[in-house]
Point group: C2
């Protein structure tokens, strides 16, 4: 897991639910903003998108909620690139409170590069692909996190 | 899949991203509000929560994004209860545009009943459990949707 956070935010009042905790969907919004930051890093920022008409669409997102998060908490998002091909990124995000090691949530996502003029799937521009492949090489030695690929089921349910 | 929608909303401007589409996290917010509506249906509304100190925490949420949704679209959420035990609900939500059959997204979630005074997991109050079991009986004959339990992976990747 990369140690430099991809994205950092502080939980505002409008993200907190009647239990006084960060509402489940806003963990997802933090992941969404982190993915925007990833786009900036690989050259799919606003300028890049205007030039190539490329953007990332989320195909799937699987969040595991591990701990409550309260109003005003500072949340950092760490990225691990699990895999990629010519038009897809398979990513893993860890949400941690600043100064803590244990994640409050983790999120596995599949992202697709899309030409928004279709919209239709499209291979990454050459410079973006080079950055993605550089990141993949840097993350290749990292262990696969335990919750990746976990199938949701009630305790005691038999695997089908 | 139950035909009566659990929850209906219209996509407001603040949920739309730079692509002019509903941002991924706000599909999750629609699911979150639908789950609030489910809580109302089973007796975990504000009055019930004040009485029993029980609430539902989301343990996992896995969204499959199938189609873009635009500003002003009316989105309905349909519920299928996949399973339950004394303190958990395993649910499946279909997000459809009003008047259409094909979902724009589906979401599988595991929800845990929690006594918020801990917080600690807790069995459902008797009347809530009766409603949950009635719903489970009504949904038992429904086929399991194709995307339930799907493991995220890049195309061509071998199952591990």
């Amino acid at each position: 897991m990369a140690s430099d956070p991809l994205y950092t935010t502080v939980v505002p009042p409008e993200w907190v639910d009647y239990n006084g905790h960060l509402r489940d969907a806003y963990y997802g919004l933090i992941c969404s903003y982190a993915t925007d930051a990833l786009m900036d890093q690989i050259g799919l920022d606003a300028a890049g998108r205007a030039c190539t008409h490329g953007s990332l669409f989320t195909l799937e997102s699987h969040i595991h909620y591990l701990h409550e998060v309260k109003l005003g908490a500072q949340v950092q998002v760490q990225l691990q690139l699990l895999g990629c091909d010519a038009k897809r990124l398979h990513i893993f995000l860890r949400l941690v409170l600043s100064g803590r090691a244990e994640p409050v949530a983790v999120c596995e996502q599949m992202l697709l590069h899309v030409d928004i003029r279709g919209p239709r799937s499209a291979v990454f521009p050459t410079d973006v692909l080079a950055r993605v492949q550089g990141m993949a090489a840097a993350h290749r030695a990292l262990p696969v996190p335990a919750l990746v690929g976990r199938v949701m089921q009630l305790p005691g349910a038999l695997p089908s």
